[in-house]
Amino acid sequence: MAPLDRKLVRDLWRMKGQVVAIALVIAAGVATVVLALGTLHSLQETRDAYYDRYQFANVFAQARRAPEHLARQVAAIPGVAQVETRIVDDIILDIPGLEEPARARILSLPDRVGARLNRVQIRIGRGIDPDHPDEILVHEAFAEAHGLVPGDTITGNINGKARRLRVVGIALSPEFVYVIGPGDLVPDNRRFGLIWMGRGALEAAYDLDGAFNDISLRLTRGAVEAEVIERLDGLLDPFGGVGAYTRHDQISDAFLRSEIEQLNNMARIIPPIFLAVAAFLLNIVVTRLVETEREQIGLFKAFGYSDLAVGWLYLKLVLAIAVLGILLGWAGGAWMGRGMTALYIEYFRFPFLYYLIDPAVFAVAALASLAAAVAGALYAVRRAVRLAPAVAMAPPAPTVYRHTIVERAVPAGMMGPMTRMVWRHIARWPLRSATTIVGVAASVALLVLSLFFIDAIDEMLDAFFFRSQHQDVTVQFADVRQDAVGFEIAHLPGVLAAEQFRAVPARLRHGHLSRRTQISGIEPDAQFSRLFDPNDRPIALPPFGIVLTAKLAERLDAVAGDVLTVEVLEGRRPVRRLPVSLIVQEYVGTAAYMDRSLLNRLMVESAAASGSHITVDPLAQADLMRALKDIPVIQGVTARRAALDTFRSMIDDTMGTMVSFYLLFASLIAVGVVYNSARISLSERGRELASMRVLGFYKGEVIAVLLGEMAILTVLAMPLGCLFGYGLAALLVGLFDSDLYRLPLIVQPSTYGYAVLVIAVAAAATGVAVARRIAGLDLIAVLKTRE
């Protein structure tokens, strides 16, 4: 080994604490890239392979009752590769052990031939025998939640008739990777499931012989979706078509895409923070190293080593640290990726999951880290390169200190010499002090950011489940019902109050922009679905026009007073022009609201409802649920409490993991920054601290001088970190903004408090670890040497 390399290895060993601290920060950045991009890649690959292999459709449409021969016309639309017609409906199931009726979507499978599109994969059991109309397949998620196995029977209410259904197989489908019930915020596998039944059996049950009510299309490569949709809508229109849509509006795919988007955001925002911090740490460490090794550098050059050889020596040190970080990060990222993927398997139902990280992801993470490391150290390395041997071997000019602004602000008698030492050292190296502050602030910010999610989701839940909704149970009717049904519901056992609503699918147009949504007709004085203005104040439903959620208004570029074209996609499919009467704030979905009687008039129907919100006497809830299971017109029952609990448990699962990763990472930054700053401070001031010990200062007093600086910088970093954290949260709110949901920009004081506390503890613990070295200061050696 060349002597310079031997020196490199020994330097690395001597600085091992600092080397590891910096390597860990780099590792955190690399791990985040590998985790996010690796998982993203795995998820994308898995999704694409699954969609392709199981022929997930591109376009979807529902109709009331369309003749089967229409399918041939649909297939003839240019760009359509394959067509599959089905019978689909929402039903309720009576599951033993579940108080309320479970909701299910029932879908037909072609008899005797395999499905062409949206193929199911049978995981356990067998396919449906068309000769046995009671046979069904059940989606794996629902089957697992209830322990259903082939051979079990369940009772379902199909088209108003109670039917005993026999489970013959457990299946998965590319249409339902993310299984979420209509109107739900998160998956609830106990209360919502998917069931497949033979086409013949469903045709008989729904009296749809030779007809269909659901159609899926797979398009050829290069087909223009908009054109296909227009033609398809034209064909389905006479048969009660409610408007075709693409994967973009397909709920399972939309959630999957949103998840991939989030991973992408994570890969873009988080790693640069780590790499910037690592670059800064390398900068201060190498600068100090070059400073302490001036004489050696001079000697090397005097012996005839070239400037470049000396520069390369220090650059190799930097690269060695970066490589250590990269290797740790690769391993950590792959390991965490596995954990994250395991979490995905719980919420995204794939028949297989590729956990293969593209080598390019590893390469990108490594290159970015190397670049950041070299960039960080370049200035210091350049100084080593440029140092003339004669200058290098002369002792450095003494460090010049000055009085600081802080001292002038404090009366002379108030500040002792030790405090002055601390402030003057901070002021002597303003750039390093500033970067230390920024580094610690970054760790606080990262923690604020991760905890902000919990605040935001709490606020979202509070808005959704407590402020705007006040019902205990929502009942959906199988069809549009006259108010009489609502009154009947109101008189069921345990019902305290009931409020009807009408919901219709519609396409809203404003100028060239259009959006498919659902218009909810609610009572003018609705108690159970309250509206809030953008400042979160409750606001009454105007008696005219249409109310848009802020997100929908943004998508349509509409403000209050603008006139929209409203194309209802149900019933007689009226088209009306309506003014926007109000913009309201909601964090979930892109709904529109109207006065129910206005909506009824628009639909040319007498007082009609799609469902009812009710409040229930808790003591009688079980009786009510039993009664609801036996009412044929009911298509779905949603208990608010259960939905809230499901949401909470999902958040606890996913957020818990995420927050602990961030907690670890943020602490790594804080430890890395404080450890390196303190070590360098110790190296620069070892002499004066030892002198203080000689003069009779106790260890604690000397430590106070060393750590006082760290303490001041850390304290100064805290408010800055909170501010950064808020900024990052705002950035993230912008990135998370989607039609599915928005995050409210709310950071609780406790979040700041917790972040500050964690980082303060991490910084203090690191400081104490460095301070232990004070005990090892050689008091005698320091007196024998010139500075």
């Binding site: 200190y401 004066e688 203080m692 007196l783």
Partner: protein
């Protein structure tokens, strides 16, 4: 053992003893080879004395001074400061001893670069029991006009005088100076020695000086010669020469 202080003829007027060492040994064992820095040193130093320690490098004089100053512990033997046994002190007691009783002056001054001359003195007076004012200490070494300068703005001689002011401001019982003029030219070196002399005369502070410079020995009451970790001889100067009359 060479000349012991007990042998002095004016024993009845002998001032109180500040230090006494008995059979002091010190062995450094950095690797496997043991280095005997002190091989049994018995020495007494009395109040108000100026003692100069001379000898070649590695003869043990710095080791002795460090042990007397509570910076180092001997391998064997005992050290008394007045009636207290330093060798029985723990780390904290030694720190307290340095804080209350000892003033150090070193070859490289060891000032705190981020503190002005006055603040360097204040640093010590703040933790002392009965200190003089920092300004008074600086005046004693002739540095009052420059007391608000940082060390980097002072010459070597001025820095060393600040170090002396810092050492004496707490009114220590003894002043331990290791090569105080080693890094200085003769003119500034003499100014520094004058400062030590002034302190010794006006405050009665016992002073022990290590030097390589034979000329300095003339300002001492006694000169202790070291060789090979032992005291090779003690000489008493009949007349102390004033520092300003020295030259080299």
């Amino acid at each position: 053992m060479a000349d012991a202080p007990h042998d002095r003829d004016d024993a009845e007027t002998e001032p109180p003893r500040v230090f006494a060492t008995i059979g002091l040994t010190k062995i450094y064992q950095p690797d496997t080879v043991a280095v005997h820095a002190l091989r049994g040193v018995d020495l007494e130093i009395f109040e108000g004395e100026v003692v100069v320690l001379v000898g070649p490098s590695g003869s043990g004089k710095s080791t002795l001074l460090n042990i007397l100053g509570g910076l180092d512990a001997p391998t064997g033997g005992r050290v008394f400061f007045g009636e207290s046994e330093l060798t029985a002190f723990d780390n904290r007691a030694l720190t307290q001893y340095r804080r209350r009783h000892v003033g150090f002056v070193f070859q490289f001054y060891n000032l705190i670069p981020s503190l002005t001359a006055r603040e360097n003195v204040l640093l010590v007076t703040e933790i002392a029991d009965r200190p003089m004012a920092a300004e008074e200490a600086l005046a004693m070494v002739g540095l009052e006009p420059r007391m608000d300068h940082f060390p980097a703005e002072l010459s070597g001689g001025e820095q060393q005088r600040v170090a002396i002011a810092r050492a004496i401001a707490k009114r220590p019982e003894e002043l331990l100076c290791d090569e105080p003029t080693g890094a200085l030219d003769s003119e500034t070196g003499i100014a520094v020695l004058e400062a030590i002399e002034t302190v010794n005369r006006t405050l009665g502070t016992t002073a022990a000086l290590i030097t390589h410079n034979a000329a300095i020995a003339a300002m001492a009451d006694r000169v202790v010669k070291f060789a090979g970790g032992r005291i090779a001889g003690v000489e008493r100067n009949a007349q102390r020469r004033a520092a300003r009359t020295l030259s080299w």
